[in-house]
Symmetry: C2
Subunit: 752 residues, 2 copies
């Protein structure tokens, strides 16, 4: 179960498949465009290349499209939108990261096979291979290779169309073509070089009569090829891409890298790429026996998730990955809360880079705090390249009426979400160096923000946070959202804790840090006292948390009806414009709190809150179902776990939210992995630092297997109905179903 | 019968309709692209804008496309290739020169009406009107107006694709967009400006939220519009275009003309355009009663023919008009021999301009003579902007093998063809001034070329012209082609005659001319003697002319079989590679000679040669049938006249040659008019200067009516079976069926 296959060609579905078939290596991403159709929207991203020119806020820039290719038979462009295809197939092999296509054009007497990959080994290389087979045809084929410098942003929002780059230079290589463009605001330079190599059956060059031309801004090479009856020719296309973010001389590097790539050969690079893919899969693969649909689905989600992972500590992963224009490439809490755990447990180096992105954008976060009248570091609700807040202030509804977007102002829990990821990173990896150099600084400066953000309520002798939005976005401008307040408190207490942790380990570093952040120990000791007085709203019975102050006074609706897909139906008498006045919520809020800080709550609290809030949740976010699924498993409600998991897996594969064309739901993919790891395998880390496994498998699953890194040691965990098998490289402890086991090096079998 | 209508939309036919629906005003031409499809090849020409950059020979430059427009509903571009149209109609009204379209998109709840015109009044203006009607739709429409600066030449020959211009400047007007480009070699600047005006039902502006952006090289305006249920909005698009050929400051002029155009309004300009069209139709219309198909066909051909007519004496009409890329916009003998008679008799001012184009390119013709070792002026077989020879020297066959093209070297009759047009112009118009200032100079300098081209055969005491191609292109490198030799002789004799004509009228001018051309009277008198000795090959019986020396010795094949369309079938035992060794011909050659110089031959000669050569003609040129049709009528063979005429009319309307996408067959259109005027109406001018009418109507025609200018006087001629009605503005003589009539002013009825 490694292949996502498309076998029916309907141009109307192309934009969805462009997302599903995106290839990315964390550095560059190219959507799965059908280059032989006229129904494609080229979209090429390089992580970190944002620009704000003429756009409301900085956007991940749609770069020139290096996939420009046309084939002409009898001087007519081959266009699969208009030619009858007697066979069509496009396959994404998740294991190898190769996208293959087959177009059989019997009326022309031709078949075209293609494959492409974005190298996971050499991040600046993209390889494409076309095999043109005669199935009756004999004659001339004109080949046009070009770089399309007319691409623009906001492909699906034409009123906001904008091209973020200006042409600097285009030209002819010997052979090949190149293009250098420069973004307007950020002045990033992007250089793309490309050349072809064509061989016939006797391995001789078949690309004849080269002509270099410039059409508008597009460097273009034209070639003539001849195809004999029932023979075939193969054309390799080499592409390299460099930017001024990682190179002083992107143009020169793109050219010399192209030369190396061509000299080395397509097949060699493909092999290297596949090796690199294998070594990732070795760590991230999840196998599910007995459920081929879940098996393919989880791999599909994992594939696209790690496709976005980068070694570059100045970039993170946007809400739609590198896969589309949704949310303009901006980074949300989605990364730390939903995607991060996958990386933390399977690819901890990438996880570290995600946190370093936050560290490297701390200046932006400080600016955000300062600009809104607070202290310390306040992470942006939407973050691009420098960490400053880039959430659009105003949007428009369908009729063009302005709508104020409040998330930047109010959805401040993001700052603590990042602190949670940092602390979890430390617990799971034991990476003290990271904490010393980066983590503590973030914890302290975010705590400083929270302290400045709190308001003291004299009457009640408590600290409050007013006018916020919690994870549930149905309710804006609420006071004392329990998720926000709890995390603020936790963030401050962790800062206090890690202050002392660092004091014990590295006084010199701490001293420098205190000066850098302008804090004193006296102040930090006060923080702890303040934190303890932060108001946590609860129902009087103490078990039920109140989502925000006054929530329980709202009109109470309970979901009682479900549609054919099992999704909640709005209560009949509900006035949708008065949603804010009801207890209905978009997605978990209190339940999220319990999920992200599980040690803070008792089993009974979990169960009570789960039951209460589940019945009031409309699941209007794709992040809702997987979280309830995990929590359900935790509290013994397994009824919906499997269905919710499958819905999560298929969000993009079946385009259930209708917006897959805007990119892949990266947080959802992370959520799916969490359902597998934290839900079905029941992995969690206890307060006391012990690894816990509490597995539960859906009835038809024979076996679930995955690998995690625990304190730097890989553990391969296989869960079956009656046993857990753990392969460990080192002795370690694990608690299974409340019982402590001491694992030996090698294979351990634990009956359950 | 004024409308050419398309009612079935099949994208595969778009490129044919682009030719059929081309709008041109002699200055600028825009093909009938379906701007809401993805199957169109924008092609915009300005007469005289040639460039040779990276092309084998100079080509009429495909300029930026000012028709860039996109409509987005729910952020999805309206694309008629993929949307189901519940009604589609496109109509070209030949009378008004307006192209209207109707697209009913029921699934969107929308219908779009459009119309466009290229103003015949203000040659730099193009107007487009879109009416968007809700048929259920309510909501937002995004409108994108742009100038496409990515157009290129050789749309149907991708291996030779080239963009002839470079971007100079693009930008935003207030409101509107503009673009200035410059061709590489000739350094022509072309400025295009465009703006929109949008009104709703209360006549208020509906174009909201303008945004100006640049996408690659394309200036672009974005607007938002709102459409209410069952209402409609109208968007006018104004375009102006100026070039450095006619303006010192094309950019400034395009902007100020745009401002005037907008201020004046779309409807006002449309009215002016229609008046200008009316006044042309008043002179050129041909009415045929009793045959609606012929009626529409002749108007269609006339429409496109006069669409190419220009007031600019430095441009002429290419073989495919301004309607496509066929023959790269080059001017052939097609203009003077096939198209010119139409203009001569109906729009003599345009006819004069066509000849002035030759006068204005005389320097090029002189260079052609000099470069090939001759004297005087030798007109190019293919002529572009400066008259130098631009025929490609080499072409390629389908397999890419080089093929030497010999027409530039050998098809020299073009030089005398132009002399014939000049003399005919003088006879029909009586325009002595033209002859004094231009005509005589051309006659003398072309005669000088012929004199230098002749070779004296001492044995035979005759002058010969060796190694030529006559009108029949099946036979190359022939000696003493009778068409060429006869015309050379005639050209020299006419030069002699007009030398003396000018001597009688304007000695001073003649004196200057002699110095300019470096000729003496003594020399000219010798020319006459030489001309008389030019060898005219004939069969011994004296009536049958021999197409070229040795033709009658070739293997004789006679066409005996015809296909279902009545076209000749190759004889069965023929080896096509040895065509040159047979008497089969592509198109009339001897018969052309008799047609272009009818006074030189007796009726018996005509008949004899017609009968002989017709049976050996394969009609592989679209110019063949109409010529045989006229000659048939002259010699009383009326059998094929009507069928040949209809085939000629429908060459483009039914794409019978399969290459209408490359432009309209302008010579064919001129040929069709000649069949009507010189064939059916039987108009000709006798040697003695008398106007002759010898009409014959196909059986089902009730009436044929047309207008001609005779010595500056318009004569409206109506032919019926039993009478001819001639409305004349002045007394004049006419010979009908060999009998002289003295016409009075007003209506004259002559029984036949």
């Amino acid at each position: 179960m490694w292949e996502v296959i498309r076998e029916v060609y309907d141009p109307k579905e192309n934009y969805i498949y462009e997302t599903l078939f995106t290839l990315a290596n964390g550095f560059v991403s190219i959507r799965g465009i059908e280059e032989f159709s006229s129904t494609y929207k080229p979209l090429t991203f390089v992580a970190g290349i944002f620009d704000g020119y003429k756009a409301q806020v900085p956007e991940l820039v749609n770069l020139p499209n290096p996939f420009g290719i046309n084939l002409y038979v009898e001087n007519e462009r081959i266009n699969i939108d208009f030619l009858k295809m007697t066979k069509y197939q496009r396959r994404l092999n998740l294991r190898s990261g190769v996208l293959s296509s087959y177009y059989e054009l019997s009326t022309l007497g031709l078949a075209i096979e293609s494959e492409r990959f974005v190298s996971r080994k050499s991040l600046h290389r993209i390889g494409i291979k076309y095999t043109i087979k005669s199935i009756g045809f004999k004659g001339k084929i004109i080949l046009e290779n070009y770089i399309d410098n007319t691409t623009a942003n906001n492909l699906f929002d034409p009123a906001n169309k904008v091209q973020h780059y200006k042409l600097q230079q285009i030209g002819s290589l010997k052979p090949g073509i190149y293009s250098v463009v420069k973004t307007y605001d950020r002045k990033h330079k992007i250089a793309i070089s490309s050349s072809l190599l064509g061989v016939g059956q006797n391995n001789d060059n078949i690309l004849l009569d080269r002509k270099y031309i410039e059409i508008g801004p597009n460097p273009t090479e034209l070639y003539t090829c001849f195809l004999n009856k029932n023979s075939s020719i193969t054309i390799y296309k080499f592409v390299t891409i460099f930017t001024s973010r990682e190179s002083e001389k992107p143009f020169e590097e793109s050219v010399s890298e192209l030369e190396k790539f061509v000299a080395q050969g397509y097949e060699t690079e493909l092999e290297e790429h596949q090796k690199a893919m294998e070594s990732i899969w070795e760590n991230v693969d999840v196998t599910i026996k007995g459920d081929s649909s879940a098996q393919l689905g989880i791999r599909f989600n994992i594939f696209h998730l790690f496709s976005c992972a980068s070694n570059d500590p100045t970039v993170s992963i946007g809400a739609r990955g590198l896969h589309g224009e949704g949310y303009k490439g901006h980074v949300f809490w989605d990364t730390e809360i939903f995607m991060f755990p996958f990386f933390l447990y399977t690819l901890p180096n990438y996880a570290k880079n995600l946190l370093l992105y936050r560290y490297n954008t701390l200046e932006g976060a400080r600016k955000n705090a300062y600009a809104t009248g607070y202290k310390g570091a306040r992470f942006a609700w939407e973050s691009a390249d420098d960490g400053t807040e880039v959430t659009p202030k105003w949007g428009v509804d369908y009729l063009g009426n302005p709508v104020r977007i409040w998330t930047a102002d109010e959805e401040i829990h993001i700052t603590a979400d990042i602190s949670i990821a940092i602390v979890n990173y430390h617990i799971v990896t034991g990476d003290d160096e990271f904490m010393k150099n980066y983590g503590v600084e973030i914890l302290l400066d975010t705590a400083k923000f929270w302290i400045s953000r709190l308001e003291y309520n004299n009457n009640m002798d408590r600290y409050e946070i007013k006018k916020v939005i919690g994870p549930d976005e149905f309710h804006e401008h609420v006071d004392n959202n329990v998720y926000t307040n709890y995390l603020a408190k936790w963030n401050i207490l962790k800062a206090y804790e890690y202050y002392h942790w660092l004091k014990e380990r590295d006084k010199g570093k701490l001293c420098l840090l205190k000066t850098l952040l302008g804090i004193s120990e006296e102040e930090i000791n006060k923080w702890r006292l303040i934190a303890e007085k932060i108001y946590i709203p609860r129902k009087d019975n103490q078990l039920l948390l109140e989502q925000f102050e006054g929530y329980f006074n709202l009109k109470d609706y309970v979901v009682t009806e479900f549609d054919e897909k099992g999704m909640p139906v709005w209560p009949k008498d509900l006035d949708l414009s008065k949603l804010q006045e009801t207890q209905l919520i978009k997605q978990p809020d209190v339940v999220m709190l319990i999920l992200v800080l599980p040690d803070e709550f008792s089993y009974d609290e979990m169960k009570k809150n789960y039951e209460y809030y589940l019945r009031r949740t409309m699941h209007k976010s794709s992040l809702s179902l997987p979280m309830y699924s995990i929590m359900g498993l935790k509290v013994g409600d397994t009824r919906n776990a499997y269905n919710s998991f499958m819905k999560t897996l298929l969000v993009d594969l079946e385009n259930t939210h209708g917006n897959t064309h805007l990119g892949f739901h990266a947080a959802c993919a992370g959520g799916a992995w969490q359902v597998v790891a934290n839900g079905f395998a029941g992995i969690r880390v206890r307060k006391d630092g012990e690894l816990v496994l509490d597995p539960w498998l859906p009835e038809h699953w024979e076996e679930l297997s995955l690998k995690i890194f625990w304190k730097g040691v890989p553990l391969k965990i296989t869960v079956r109905k009656e046993e857990i098998i753990i392969e460990s490289l080192r002795e370690t402890d694990v608690i299974v179903k409340s019982k402590l086991y001491h694992l030996k090096e090698g294979t351990n079998r634990i009956k359950i």
